[in-house]
């Protein structure tokens, strides 16, 4: 038995091939999956319908509004009160102690004693037809005010970075559950057989506090975990062939490998060997498709200018452009982390005056450019862009250890995110916080609600996409999650 697995001639071969197909179907989400649904690998097994039959058992559950998500994760928690949620009363009572009744029984990460209110040192203005109110820190986001839906009333249960980031990604604060990208991969598979369906890009300093658990697959097979594209060196680990091995030589070595593996498949009869052969073939294709994807030298100057990309320099802008190229190629979930938003004010370079301005300069333009670029290419209809962090920041100055720098502590009770694209209502602002931005007074939405909504727009009923583990059916939204209808088109 060689090469053509679909056309065995002897009785025995045919029986084996049938068994092999049946096995692969059953095994599909267990051990042998490729990236998501690995259509090409399965076609090689001579059964192209496999894709449809397997996918149907998971999703989509209804007609999707969007095919891809780009999640711009502002790790460290941006200060909503200095960017989106304008509170004149904070400026009016700047420096006044907050009444004890407000903070009684509250736990803060760092604030001790009675904190004082902190007015924003930044100025706000209304933009666009929608009249969205934004600060001078985000002039570029202001340009797309009519394309985005701003939600000012999200809340979370976690008030420290690592758990909150893991919660924002997996619906649970302790590492070990699958992230949203993994769930989507599991539920929908990949649209591109040569690329991973869930990609993570990092910028800013280091990785996010939640670490790789943020894009882990938890108890789902590791095939669904986010693939981290690295800033330097190979975008995917070990993508480059060793020195002296060019494409043709790699092809020849793989031909030999394939030949030996096929001989062994005939000897040992284990269909797992066929899957292994295919995984090497996909790896070979990735060696071409990934560098093609990450090479932005062919992008015209005006596009690079629009994002603010400096060629050869890893940056958030660079990653935004890559994200667009990925969704163009069918990558399901792209997550960009930009780290450093943790502006406590405990030093000169982590405050809401200096650091926050700096971070906005690093990200504002590229984030807006991404939305505009997707729009001009007609891709915004099938892509959702999400911007936000893991929680918000307090209306009070933190003043850790008596610090005189202006900064805000972690605030899980209310924070702002914006979204744009497929199925999202453009030009709306939803939700309201009280006069000092402490509590939500209108339309509170939980992280689970956000997850439910994003899944819904991708064609997934969050209550139906489940996975049984340790005796329980798990889902991204645990036992929660309501759709945020007000931002749905």
């Amino acid at each position: 038995m060689k090469k053509d697995l679909g056309k065995g001639s002897s009785m025995q071969d045919r029986a084996r091939n049938e068994a092999l197909r049946a096995m692969t179907r059953r095994h599909f989400f267990g051990q042998t999956a490729q990236f998501g649904l690995g259509t090409a690998a399965l076609a090689a097994l001579g059964n192209p319908e496999l894709f449809a039959s397997t996918a149907a058992s998971h999703g989509p559950h209804h007609k999707p509004k969007a095919k891809s998500i780009i999640f711009l994760f502002m790790a460290g928690a941006p200060s909503q009160l200095d960017m989106f949620d304008h509170k004149p009363m904070l400026n009016q009572y700047d420096g006044q102690p907050v009444p004890e009744e407000v903070t009684k029984g509250e736990r803060f990460a760092f604030i001790k004693g009675t904190p004082r209110l902190l007015g924003s040192p930044h100025t706000f203005q209304r933009y666009g037809q929608s009249g969205a109110e934004l600060s001078n820190l985000v002039p570029h986001t202001a340009r797309i005010a009519d394309d985005i839906a701003i939600v000012k009333s999200l809340w979370t249960t976690q008030f420290n970075h690592a758990p909150a980031q893991i919660f924002m990604n997996s619906g649970h604060q302790i590492p070990g559950r699958p992230s949203m990208g993994s769930w989507l991969q599991y539920g929908l598979g990949s649209e591109n057989a040569d690329l991973p369906g869930f990609v993570v890009l990092l910028s800013g300093k280091n990785q996010p506090d939640g670490g790789k658990s943020c894009w882990g697959s938890g108890f789902l097979p590791t095939v669904y975990q986010g693939v981290e594209f690295r800033r330097e060196g190979d975008p995917v680990l070990f993508l480059s062939d060793p020195e002296g091995i060019d494409r043709e030589r790699r092809r020849r070595t793989l031909d030999l490998l394939k030949n030996l593996n096929e001989q062994h498949l005939a000897e040992a009869g284990d269909p797992e060997i066929a899957t292994r052969i295919n995984s090497y073939e996909l790896a070979y294709r990735m060696q071409s498709s990934v560098p093609e994807l990450t090479d932005i030298s062919g992008e015209p100057d005006n596009i690079r200018e629009m994002y603010g990309v400096t060629p050869g320099k890893p940056s958030f802008a660079n990653n935004c452009l890559l994200a667009r190229r990925m969704v163009e190629r069918g990558v399901r979930f792209v997550q960009l982390y930009h780290r450093g938003w943790d502006t406590h004010g405990s030093s000169n370079n982590e405050d809401i005056v200096n650091k926050l301005s700096w971070l906005c300069r690093e990200t504002d333009r590229a984030a807006a450019a991404l939305v505009q670029d997707l729009k001009q290419r007609g891709l915004l209809d099938s892509t959702i862009v999400v911007w936000g962090g893991e929680f918000g920041r307090t209306p009070m100055n933190e003043a850790r250890g008596g610090s005189k720098f202006l900064g805000r502590d972690h605030h899980p009770r209310a924070f702002t995110m914006w979204m744009a694209g497929g199925g999202i209502k453009p030009g709306v602002t939803v939700g309201k916080t009280d006069d000092i931005g402490y509590n939500i007074v209108e339309d509170p939405y939980s992280v689970h609600d956000l997850h439910a909504t994003l899944m819904h727009l991708m064609g997934i009923d969050h209550k139906r996409l489940t996975y049984k583990f340790q005796g329980r059916e798990f889902r991204l939204t645990d036992v929660h999650g309501e759709l945020i209808h007000k931002i749905m088109a």
């Binding site: 999956a33 690592a162 070990f238 002296g244 509590n439």
Partner: protein, 1149 residues
Amino acid sequence: MRRGLLLTWGVVLWMTLAPRAAMAAADYESTVAPILKKNCVPCHSTANAQGKLALDSLEAIQRGGVSGPSLVPGKSSESGIYQRLVVEDRTLRMPFGGKALAPELIAVIRDWVDGQDAAAPAPEAIPTTIDFHRDVEPILKSNCYGCHSGGKAQSQLRLDAGKAALRGGLGGKVINPGDAKGSRLIHRVKGMGGEQRMPLRKAPLDDRQIAILERWIDAGAVWPGADQAADDEELELHWSYKAPHRPKTPTVQKADWARNDIDRFILARLEKEGLSPSQRASTEMLIRRLSLDLTGLPPTPAEVGAFLKDDSEQAYEKLVDRLLASPHYGERWARPWLDWARYADSNGFEKDLPREMWKYRDWVIEALNQNMTFDQFTIEQLAGDMLPKPAQSQLIATGFNRNTMHNEEGGVDPAEAHHDVLVDRVNTTATLWLGSTLACAQCHNHKFDPFTQKEYYQFYAFFNNPTYDVIHVGDSSTRFVEKSIDLPTDAQEASRKHLQEQITDLQKVTSTETDALRDARRVWEKEQKQAFDRWKRVQPEKLESLGGSTMTAQPDRSVLVSGANEHGDTYIVEGPAPQGDFNAVLLEALPDESLPRGGPGRDLYGNFVLTELSVEWNPTGKADGWKPLRWTYAVSDNGNIAGFYQRPPEDPSKAMKRPDSRGEEQLWTVDASREDKRVARRLVIPLDAKVANVSNARLRFTFLFASPFGKQGIGRFRLGVSQEEDPHFITQVRSQVRHNLDLAESARTEEQQKEIRSTFLSNTPLLKDERQALRKLRDEMSDLGIATAKVMQDEGSFAQLSAPMRVRGSFLSPGETVYANVPKVFPPLPEDAIPNRLGLAKWLVSKQNPLTSRVMVNRMWETYFGKGIVETSEDFGSQGALPSHAELLDWLAVEFMDSGWNLKHMHKLIVMSATYQQDSKVEPQVLENDPYNRLLARGPRFRMEAEMIRDVALAASGLLSSKIGGPSVYPYQPEGIWDVPYSSVKWEQSEGEDQFRRGIYTFVRRSSAYPSMATFDAPSREVCTIRRVSTNTPLQALNGLNDPAFFDAARALAARVIREGGSAPRQRADYAFRLLTSRSAPQGYLDEITAWYEREIARLKREGQTAKQIHGAPVALHAEASKASSPELAAWTLVANVLLNMDEAITKE
């Protein structure tokens, strides 16, 4: 103003409090009723209903009074219950004649009314007399039977049979006849008490149905026939909670196939299914399988040869005994245990700092090699510290419970972080020994298994007594740190003692002011004052700011900056060079009242960040006469100087590298945010060469303020030059205390005098040698490398161990206190066991425990066969898989206990079976009937685990180090994997044989896994992971082909093949194949490989330099192969690269 503010605060408060009520589900019982009770019910109760309106029950509210219904669902504007609270007319407003209700309370009522379902139809009348069959049974049947009937009763609660229903379930009684309010059945259907509403994930019962149940219970919960029910209503206990008994060995037809009892169980099942076992595997397959299973390493060609030659009866058994006695046996079987024990070399969470735990890892290896009995193995790990006079090794063993993650993030609540640690200990213990998902009961009673939430916290109480130190970090963070012990060798202990004595002595010398030193200090003080006065200030004549700031010269020759404040501003200051030669420049930053917060900087806080400074000198005064004055480092009296501007160390190669990108350079950063820091600061820049000054020369200074934040210029500054022997002598004294030098010694406070004295002592050249010696000693001390181990230690106490329950699992909601105990479904703690960790450990390995032995033999089985007899090896509960061979499992479990928990005995038993020794070839018929090989009609065949793939590659290529134990090692890892916030710990590649240690010794950092481990499905070790999922992905293909660690193995394998594999390509190909698979390559393989090799070597010969790139530098290991030609070595490297990636090479078959 004050009054105004207060009033406004009222509004703010109202706004802040109101939403809390809105956010919470407006629940009548918990939220609304208490408000009504306090404010309204005194006049509007059923007994005393003013206006015929009672407000003490929902029904009464709905009924209303003389003014009609008080509640219009969904419409607060039409509901009297709300309108009468807010109406302006004081004669109408309620509470009558009293003060208005607080706004936040009114908001609660409003939101509750508005939240009522407007469309709800009027309730159907409820019969006054309830008939069970007519009224109650239909409700139970359509809503409860689904999960609470017959044998599948969740939480062992049945609602389909009277006797059982009235008895209740795991959580106790649910129906209290005569007391609906006190019946959990009612609480649960109403969703009260913090538990999930019943029926789960289905529509709730309507009010009428609930009312019927209430009325029925209040009337005595009559259930016809319940008292005569038979005992068959007793629930069948889940199989795994019943103690195993040794079953009778089944009789089989093909009795001669069986080698031991295991085979009879397997064969009986196969025969029942009409299948027959496979033939015995080939000798080569057997020795490879056995070696991999028992030592994790492939057999050497010599071992294979010897085994092939030995045709004695006992050949196989002798091999088994030899492998079980190998010290590598412990390494192999420690691997799964370390997954379960979540062993790692870092703390996890955000910072994920390294920790020293390897002594525990070595303990596991050693204990397994010694064949410590499993009960002892358990007891030492869970409670070694509680044994009488514990040995050091027994303390190290308790590191098991210290393998929990430890959150060091700044803002964590230390008590909560500690609680999380205890939760992990509970969950890990229950999963590892009991195969139970006790973890599910942390927040509520277990949905499916017989564990209540109370029992969870009873189990938790066993662990709730560790000692820890409270450590304060910085000024705002606190941590609980549990105990570690030092484990110095005798030699280390001696050195430590010796060093400590020397350090103490020297410290005394360097901090004591002798008479001689006192005199020297007085001289030094004088010199300090004089030195400062020697600096000549530059008169600023030409001032320019490129960013448009206004710069004004001051009478004291300083420059004051005001006006515009642009990001990236540049100041240019020019003036006449003061007379005389000079070799250093002084920049003083001065506070000024006109600056933000009093300066000296211009940002909102009065800080500045100087990123660049250039100094030029012009002796001619002509426009083209400027010469740059070079300098390499700077010293300040305070404030931060970037590392690369600091004084270059003796060894220039250790100087800090200047960052490449502009803007990140921060030459001098001054933080003046605090009042006590708002003082003059000085920066001294020694020039590379002395300037022989001439008259009429000029100086020009260019300042760049391009910090990434921007707007951070200096607000007031002054420049100076001087000719100094020791230019930065003046920076020895901090600005804040310099003025104390002007005070007479007698006028100084003790504090001031102490400060000056210690400044002098830490700078004086008279103590230079001593200071240096002290530094050296301290370095030597830390270089001793004394190993430590994290161990358990309980607080000494006679109190019974207890813990508060946590309502819904929330740390913030402590509930009832419970005492250490084991779940009721299990046999109780032994009579003589104290309910502490030791008692728990003894209980786990008592023969009465139905799970421990089953769970352990099942995991052994899983490691050999790829799947356990119970496939869900982590869950033996009702949601876990049923055993494929229940009797075999029990037989093995009893055998394990009867053998005295002898692990090697069990290993031998399994590998001696005919079942284990079958060929793994997948026959189509078997694939069809049993695709997952659950029935074992063939031998096991599955991809090797991550560590084994590495070990096999290294062993086959001859690189593998056979060293056992020791600190974790750092083999090759690509750049940038350890990219963790708040941690500068670097992966520094190990040297020598430590690069080629077995996978089990690779440093495990939880948040940044070693790439090939993670790619091949090794868990992160954040929590206990029982079962590794096995995937097959392209990332694995890339890893195997291109990871330099694997490619190096290919190079070494090539060299080995040339060295040892004979001279003909066919011989060499066969040798390489044998090193990896233990068998000779079949002809078809050899034909392909040699043909490929010949074609490739021809190409390489044509290509010239490529071959060298492929085989790399001839490292020591290659030496003997260096006689081979370069194309030869390269071609074999490519062949080896292919062979190492063969499915067969990475599969145990």
